[in-house]
Structure formats: structure tokens, C-alpha cells
Symmetry: C2
Subunit: 301 residues, 2 copies
């Protein structure tokens, strides 16, 4: 028994196209309809064929859906919601995949006072963007966090859970506000820092851009992968999760100042203590299957 | 014609044991002698067999060497230098693989006023440590930076160049001081930041350690790899390259403050501008063969 029979995906980038592909593999009888605001993306999606149908208008994509998933940047959610509000069937379940949740919850609740709403965030991705970047196994063994409101339709929540489980994901349910705090440290701050250091390295006068690139294997290259992520998506994440990001950033800056002081005063014990306890975190992540167990992420050597 | 016939490696961790293994594959007629201060490492190195001989005393390892490479943490260089000073043949070339160079140059020049000294830094590694972590292809297509003094023996420099080229590395020669500045941004600051954020995430009260690990695939896990690097080695790097690291850290902190302000005031354009230009750096690194061209570093999905 499939949780949904007709799934519509609005936004056919990395995440949206991966969902479509994963549904195609895991639930081949489900009908997938897609829409993207960008005509080039629609054309490419038609060529790639991961949707049964790609519509030119967002409204047309949702008219007979029983699940609609918004896979657009967080800042575009309100416009898409307004676009489909008149066409969404009254019993269709509405979901999204935004990286920040409290703000989106408010937007969706405003536009869809009667539909069951089950916001979701699959914690998965790569540095690539667009319909070519998606693949069917992206959500395998990754966590998908659902943040339904307290009064959300319990049956709809179960159906969305079943949907993501079918795509290979592990499910967790939490408050939107707590989600935003957790992701601020596990995802948003890491991206902010990576973007910053790549910018810093690009702006130096004493070290050339060519040197930065040549000697990047000393550690810097790791940060450039994250800093190659989609600029629109990430701008919207920081604007929409401002409070939590600023709080985590404040913590990080304090800790960095303490290390700066340890280096300035030659306090080797303080450095050694921190550097020793961070190893255990890596070990836990690998043990829990949240990263490739091979050294160096499995890079070719 | 091989550049050296009898190579001695002091310190049999990731880098030292990788050099031994690479010589075994690329220059199988070269005799490799090894020593490590830790008796467990010596025993393991004997079992693994990547040296022709492993000696219990550092002095005994160098008596008939024509190249001696110090592969110990930067802070241990002076003690090792003192240990081998009496036994090093007068014409043996002395090198090292330390991650900071100006300080080591002074130490080596003091202990070995007569030997040709050619300091080196192969910009390569993984997050693993110890004799089991090494492998023969670690230096393939990676840069090895030589930082000989202005009055260094030109023939010795050429021989060390030829040695590293034989191991698969690309060679660059630069001033020790400039090396320390370049590596401060491409390697030392990235490590410092990675250690810091992993520490910050571990110390939060609002987000549990278990949540940090579960949702690490959103970006955080990338930082934990670097933050699993050898604590002793990295403590010594920061203590020995203090000035350059503090300068780069100051730049980074200023840039981070600017982004913090952009987030606080909702300046999406400033965020978007930075996030757009950092993509090009990633592209150059991949084009120049300094990172795995596969998405997500080639992680299994």
C-alpha cells in the first residue's frame, strides 16, 4: 500500500530531481508531475525523463496531486505557495524540503489554512545543483526531519513518514524551532565558515590565487566543496534562520578567540586538549553510518 | 641514476611510512632504514616491512645514510637533530617534512652547520596517523615544496628534487617565510577552524552530541575529518607558525564579522555576491587535479 499515488514536485534541482528519481526507482507506479519556474530546467527535466509530466504552470502541476513537495529555495516558498493556492486540492498533503523550518511553517500555514501540512528536511545533498545533479540514492540512510505543527493531521504525518522511509531515509520528528537550532550548527554555520574562508583566501595580497589552488590539498580544498553550493539557496537559508545562525556564530567566535589567545601565548596544552577530544566526534559519525568509512572521504589516491 | 642510494627516515607515522612505501615501489634498489622514538611504532614498522631495517637508536639509523628525512612533529625536530648530530655522515643530505619551515630551518642550521640542508614539505596527507596509515601513492600529483636557504648546496637541492619527483610529486621551491604564509591559509587556518567548530558543536547545551552526529551530513561531517588529524603534529604547527597563523586568522575574523553583519541586517546581496564567487575556486582546484573530480569527494552514496 503506497502512501501517495500522485506526487507533484515544484522545483526540479538537486533535491527535487533526486526525489523524482528515487520515487521512480522505489515506487514505480506513483505518477510524478514536476514544475520549475525556469524554462531551461523544465526542458532539461523533460529530456532527462524523471517525471511522468512536466507542466509549464505551477498550478497545473498540482490539480490532481495527493502530495505536493516544494523543493525551491526558502526565499521562493511564499511566491510558489501563492501560485498554487487556488489549484491545490483540498485534501492534498503539502510538504517542502527547506533547510530552515520555522519561517516556512508560517508561510505555508498562511496560504493553506485547510490542507494538511507536513514540512520536511532531508539532510542530504552534494555541492552540485540543477536537474542533472540529482540521483536516486541521495536519501539512502540519511535522516529526514519532519517538523509538523502540534495540531497537524496525524494521518498525513504518517503518510509523509512512509513516503520518506520508502525513499531509504531515516525519520525524525521535532519542533521547527529546535530543527533550526540543530541545523544552524550542523549545516548552516559550516557553510558560512566555508564560504568565508574561501573568500578570505581569494582576497589576500601576500598569497596569490594560484598558490591557494596549488596547495589546497593541505586542508583548504575540503572547504571549497561546501563553498561551491548553490548561492541562492544558501543566501535564503541565512536570511530565514538568522537568529539561530547568529547565536551559533557567536559561540564559534568565542571559541576561536580562545584558540587565538592560546596560539599567541604559546599554550600548547590548551591546543592539544581540544585537538584530542575532537577525534571522538569523527569516530561516532563514521560508526553511525553518517560518513564514508574510508579515509579522506574515499578520495582517489 | 637514482638521486640517493641509502635513505633514512626518522619518524614512521603517516608521512614517514608513506615515503618508505613509495620508495619501495618507485626505487626498489634504494636501501631504507627507519627509526621511531616509540618502541610500539618500531615493532609495528618491522611487522609491516616497509623498511629494510628499523633501528632502536636514531644515531644508528643515520650512520651510512646519504639522505636523512626527519618525519617527526615540528616540536620534536630539535631533539631528533641533537640525537643524530654526532652520527650523521658529513656529506649526507638532511631534509624534513615539517608543515612549517622557517623555525625548522633555524634548528637544522644550528645543529648541522656543515651538512647540505634541503627542507621539504609534501602537501599531502589524510586524517589518519601512524605506520599503518601510510600508503605508496600518497604523494602522486601532490605538490612538494622545498625551502632551501639562499646559500644552500645546489646539487643537494637537485637531488632532493629528483627524489620527490620519483615519488610522483610536483616540485616548487620557495622561501621558508613565504611557505609559512601560504600554508597558513591553505592548511593551518582550515585545521584551526575545523577543530574549533567541532569543539563548539560538542559544548552546546541546546543541541545534544547525538543530534550533532545524526545530522552531520548537512556539512558538519566534512569538518570532522580534518579535526581528526594528529593532535601533537597540529599543536606544534600552530606554536611554530604563530605569526602567519595569527595574521590569517585576523583576516578571516574580519571577513566573518562582515558576513555576520550582513545576516543581521538582512543584506542578501552581500551574501549572494560572496557565495557566487567562491564556486570558481572549487572549479580551479578540480581542474588542476588537486581534488577528486567526483561530486562529494567521491563519497559512496
Amino acid at each position: 500500500m503506497l502512501p501517495f499515488a500522485r506526487v507533484t514536485i515544484i522545483g526540479l534541482g538537486l533535491i527535487g530531481s533526486s526525489i523524482a528519481r528515487a520515487v521512480g526507482v522505489r515506487m514505480p507506479t506513483v505518477r510524478i508531475t514536476g514544475h520549475d519556474a525556469d524554462p531551461d530546467v523544465r526542458a532539461r527535466a523533460r529530456d532527462l525523463g524523471f517525471c511522468d509530466d512536466v507542466t509549464d504552470q505551477a498550478g497545473a502541476a498540482v490539480v490532481d496531486a495527493d502530495l505536493v513537495i516544494l523543493c525551491v529555495p526558502v526565499g521562493a516558498m511564499a511566491a510558489v505557495a501563492a501560485d498554487i493556492a487556488d489549484d491545490l486540492p483540498a485534501d492534498a498533503v503539502l510538504s517542502d524540503v527547506g533547510s530552515s523550518k520555522a519561517g516556512i511553517a508560517a508561510v505555508l500555514a498562511e496560504h493553506f489554512p485547510h490542507n494538511p501540512i507536513v514540512p520536511a528536511h532531508p539532510v542530504a545533498g552534494t555541492e552540485r545543483s540543477g536537474p542533472d545533479a540529482g540521483f536516486a540514492t541521495l536519501f539512502d540512510k540519511r535522516w529526514c526531519i519532519l517538523t509538523p505543527a502540534d495540531d497537524a493531521d496525524a494521518v498525513a504525518v504518517e503518510r509523509v513518514k512512509a513516503f520518506w522511509t520508502s525513499l531509504g531515509a531515516e525519520i525524525e520528528v521535532m519542533e521547527a524551532k529546535h530543527h533550526d537550532l540543530v541545523l544552524a550548527i550542523t549545516s548552516h554555520l559550516p557553510h558560512l565558515i566555508a564560504y568565508t574562508i574561501v573568500g578570505t583566501a581569494s582576497d589576500l595580497e601576500q598569497v596569490t590565487q594560484s598558490e591557494v589552488i596549488k596547495y589546497s590539498a593541505g586542508g583548504f580544498r575540503d572547504f571549497t566543496r561546501i563553498a561551491a553550493s548553490d548561492p541562492t539557496m544558501w543566501r535564503d537559508v541565512f536570511l530565514s534562520n538568522r537568529e539561530a545562525v547568529l547565536e551559533m556564530l557567536q559561540r564559534f567566535s568565542e571559541d576561536l578567540s580562545a584558540l587565538q589567545r592560546a596560539i599567541r601565548w604559546g599554550d600548547g596544552d590548551a591546543l592539544f586538549d581540544l585537538f584530542s577530544r575532537t577525534r571522538a566526534v569523527r569516530r561516532s559519525i563514521v560508526e553511525q553510518g553518517q560518513d564514508d568509512p574510508r579515509e579522506d572521504f574515499g578520495r582517489a589516491h
